[in-house]
């Protein structure tokens, strides 16, 4: 089933003479249960694309539909509700609230929903178990490690049982071990629960956990790679090769 459908996305910034076209007509689909990575050199429009896809930013032209719902037709208030109920977010710098405990941070998106307390409690326990942060429930963010913080953030993204989870460099601030642990968990959840995940990354290792990787160059879709039956190692090599052809950054990972 098709979860995300982006059609002819254009995005320009600035006015008249200083206009910069960041997205130059991007179209792609993501099906239910896919784990999609978006890669590309800096300035290729990765973050802009992500912001447009998750409705934080509006495209100049083109449309995004999630679960069949066109985002362009929604008011900003409806969009907020849509984001809260249908999307999950994992940010590079975790963005946990320092004043809330781990459990409270996870339950945060449900603050204004009508999910029953029992149901919410069940989901929280399930997710904390899955992400191995059960013991940290009553700890504050400053008492736990970066990897644990990001797993908390992942749980927060998944608590609403979203149609799609957006990740903006989720492993960017983690050391390689913590990053691997997080990605393991994410791909497990992705396979077990058929959660659709879309993540921007410049790290080939992180991208190798995906089932498909899109490459962006100069605001256009350059190519895409499917993992298919390859092992993660082989897929990783493939990604590196494509990056080499693409040029730009990417080797520092």
């Amino acid at each position: 089933m098709e979860i995300l459908n982006a059609t002819h996305l254009h995005k320009t910034y600035g006015k008249r003479r200083n206009q910069v076209e960041v997205l130059k007509g991007i179209s792609f689909q993501a099906d239910e249960g896919e784990f999609v990575g978006i890669m590309g050199p800096s300035g290729s429009g990765k973050t802009t694309l992500l912001n447009v896809l998750c409705s934080i930013d509006q495209p100049t032209s083109g449309d995004v539909a999630i679960n069949g719902q066109s985002l362009a037709q929604l008011s900003s208030k409806k969009l907020a509700t849509f984001r809260r109920t249908q999307m999950g977010f994992i940010f590079q710098d975790y963005n946990l609230l320092e004043t809330l405990t781990v459990k409270e941070n996870i339950l945060l998106p449900l603050a204004v929903s009508n999910v029953s307390k029992q149901e919410a409690e069940m989901r929280v326990h399930h997710l904390m178990n899955e992400l191995a942060i059960q013991e940290l429930a009553h700890k504050y963010p400053n008492e736990i490690s970066g990897g644990q913080k990001q797993r908390t953030a992942a749980a927060r993204a998944l608590i609403v049982q979203p149609a799609i989870v957006f990740g903006d460099e989720p492993t960017g601030a983690l050391d390689s071990k913590a990053a691997a642990a997080l990605l393991e968990k994410l791909s497990e959840l992705n396979e077990a629960q058929k959660t659709t995940i879309l993540m921007v990354t410049h790290d080939a290792v992180a991208a190798s956990y995906c089932s498909r990787v899109l490459f962006l160059k100069d605001g256009k879709l350059y190519t895409e790679l499917y993992k298919g039956e390859q092992t993660r190692k082989q897929f990783f090599e493939n990604i590196l090769n494509t990056q080499a052809i693409l040029g730009g950054d990417g080797y520092e990972a």
């Binding site: 849509f82 999307m87 405990t101 409270e104 998106p109 603050a111 963010p141």
Partner: protein, 655 residues
């Protein structure tokens, strides 16, 4: 880029931060200048009737104002320096030496202060006339005022504010020299309190805080209870205990109780947070350590301002009642002076009603008639002597008095008399001279004799026969044997009548204790009181406004910096799908706390203080208290409104 360009750009950028500070500076310098101008202007400060010098009150007011402004400026400056530490760090990073930054700060602050003082003095000069008129209206004096621009007031204003400025600048320099470049980038992170768990210990201290406030309140209601207060030192001890326990309790309340209470409610949620918990409760809990002191201070200042304003308003609004106690009739004379006055009035064609009382003094022991026991320090001695009037003469002034042979009524039973000598109707007491008991049938707050006659002691009225009995047994003659009161038929003739009154009699008489006293007309008493209390309430009102402005500004500044610290959180919350409205709902709760709690607790404090002490200031506290509250709350809400507006803009542009 030149230094001055940089200065102007940063000032523009920080205009929101400094806006209210600028206004507060304008207000205080303007008020200071006006106070000084008025103090030095004889057409304003010389009162008609009282010898009280309004100039002294204005001077005292200006001194208190400087003290308020002093603390405000230092506090606000400290806040700004912390706020801008990153900016200064950046300048240093790109190679600007500290001395250069210091020069920049000097330039920036000088421009702002100079502008503020110029505007302040300008407005002060314009409004001085308005102040003077308002003041004369308050003290009910009609007079032409000419107010020249006072150069000496200007010089003194400049002098005081230059000193203030130098102290403030010194503070900035100390702050700068103490911080290292690396710290500058950490300040805001450090100020953000490290999140800590809430221990049982702090919960206990928290409840102790509430207990201390309750104890203070309880003691204040028992202040005049004989079980607790027995001696004068006991009274002072009790007062100090009340003050200390309420102030310490307030601090502990904010430091521990709030977090403890909120923690309970949060625990009850079991992690299932609502928007209020996210935006309001948990940030408040975690900031309590840094905010407690300023919130407690603001609460205390609010209580002080409301208390002082209410008490001065009580005094002011009691002028009429008090003047009737001093002179129960339009005017009055003692002994034989009435014949001359009658004649003079008749000749001038002034219509009047005359009330004449023959006076004797009788020893009484009121102990048996007391309603409740009072601490000895406060109580009038019940074994005393009172003036006695006879029913037949009193009836004209108080028609509903009818007394049997063994009955008596007490007049001039004012609130303060009631407080010092709490009598009860239907009880009996002894007339010492006759060794006979009389029944106290009624108590009247109406006065019949000027309070000067007997230091405010009440007056006893008996039946005519008992009066003559007492007169027979009177041991020594009183120096005042007759008092004659006059009420004018036509109040329009008051001025004329007063003139005649002072021509015919000098109002002087000798009291029984040998002191020479002077009687004034009721109108004159009223004006004297009004002028005296008017000066106090006028100065108090403007100082109260200064209090309000400074406390409100500080709350606003604090919330501004909190809002900026929280901006990234709002960005995240809006990304994951909270709407602006939902977030603002949380913010509203937060402001309800930040502004509501200091106000509410301050009002509570002042209420108990006023309830304990209002009786010494006048008659009735409800109306003055409510009036002061209404005005204070409205002005205070203005700051809450400004804060909400600032928050709204932060939330709106966070995404």
């Amino acid at each position: 880029m030149k230094l001055s360009t940089l200065v102007f750009r940063t000032m523009w950028k920080n205009s929101r931060l400094y806006g209210l500070y600028f206004i507060a500076l304008i207000f205080s310098s303007g008020l200071y200048f006006s106070f000084l101008t008025l103090a030095a202007n004889p057409s304003v400060v010389e009162m008609n009737t009282t010898s009280v010098k309004a100039g002294a009150a204005f001077k005292a007011g200006s001194v208190i104002l400087v003290v308020i402004v002093f603390f405000f400026v230092l506090y606000a400056n400290q806040l700004f320096m912390k706020r801008r530490s990153k900016e200064f760090g950046l300048y240093q990073l790109i190679g600007l030496p500290k001395s250069r930054i210091a020069r920049m700060l000097l330039l920036e602050n000088s421009i702002m202060w100079l502008a503020a003082i110029a505007v302040g003095v300008g407005l002060g000069a314009i409004f001085s006339r308005f102040f003077a008129l308002l003041f004369l209206k308050v003290v009910d004096v009609e007079r032409v005022v000419i107010i020249d621009f006072s150069v000496s007031a200007l010089l003194q204003t400049l002098f005081v504010f230059v000193i203030l400025f130098m102290i403030m600048y010194l503070q900035s320099l100390v702050h700068m020299s103490r911080t290292k470049l690396i710290d500058l980038f950490h300040v805001s992170a450090k100020a953000e309190q490290r999140v800590k768990r809430f221990s049982w210990g702090s919960m206990v201290i928290g409840f102790m805080g509430i207990g201390l406030i309750a104890l203070g309140y309880y003691l204040s209601t028992q202040l005049f209870n004989e079980d607790i207060v027995k001696t004068a030192t006991g009274l002072y001890t009790a007062m100090l205990t009340i003050l200390a326990s309420t102030i310490i309790g307030t601090y502990l309340f904010f430091r521990f109780s709030v977090a403890a209470l909120l923690n309970i409610q949060r625990k009850a949620r079991q992690g299932h947070v609502k928007i209020v918990d996210i935006v309001a409760i948990s940030p408040i809990m975690h900031r309590m350590k840094t905010n407690a002191l300023s919130l407690a201070l603001i609460t205390t200042l609010t209580a002080l301002a409301i208390g002082v304003l209410t008490l001065s308003y009580i005094s002011y609004s009691s002028a009429e009642v008090r003047s009737k106690e001093s002179m129960p009739f339009d005017m009055g004379v003692v002994n034989k002076q009435h014949t001359a006055l009658d004649k003079a009035f008749d000749e001038a064609g002034i219509g009047y009603k005359k009330y004449q009382f023959d006076l004797i003094r009788a020893d009484v022991n009121l102990t048996d008639a007391l309603g409740r026991q009072l601490p000895e320090v406060l109580q009038e001695n019940p074994d005393t002597s009172l003036y006695v009037l006879k029913e037949g003469q009193v009836k004209k002034a108080a028609p509903d008095v009818t007394l049997a042979e063994d009955e008596t009524a007490i007049f001039g039973y004012s609130t303060i008399t009631e407080f010092m000598l709490p009598l009860e109707e239907q009880k009996t007491f002894e007339l010492s001279a006759l060794k006979q008991k009389v029944k106290l049938v009624s108590l009247h707050d109406q006065s019949l004799l000027p309070s000067l006659f007997s230091y405010g002691m009440p007056v006893m009225v008996t039946s005519d026969s008992l009066y003559h009995e007492l007169k027979k047994h009177q041991q020594e003659k009183t120096s005042i044997t007759v008092f004659t009161g006059y009420n004018l038929v036509d109040k329009k003739q008051l001025a004329q009548a007063q003139k005649i009154y002072y021509e015919v009699t000098d109002g002087q008489f000798k009291r029984d204790d040998g002191f020479d006293m002077t009687l004034s007309t009721q109108d004159e008493e009223y004006r004297a009181l009004l002028e005296m209390m008017g000066i106090i309430i006028f100065v108090a009102a403007f100082l109260g406004l200064a209090f309000l402005l400074t406390t409100g500004s500080i709350l606003y500044f604090k919330q501004m910096s909190e809002a900026e610290d929280e901006a990234p959180q709002f960005a995240m919350l809006r990304k994951i799908g909270f709407t602006e409205q939902e977030l603002m709902r949380g913010v509203r709760y937060k402001q309800l706390f930040n502004f509501g709690f200091p106000l509410l607790i301050g009002i509570c404090h002042s209420f108990f203080a006023i309830k304990a002490g209002w009786i010494l200031f006048g008659v009735g506290y409800e109306k003055p208290f409510m009036t002061v509250l209404a005005i204070y709350i409205v002005l205070y809400l203005l700051f809450a409104f400004l804060t909400m507006r600032y928050y709204r803009s932060i939330v709106a542009k966070s995404l």
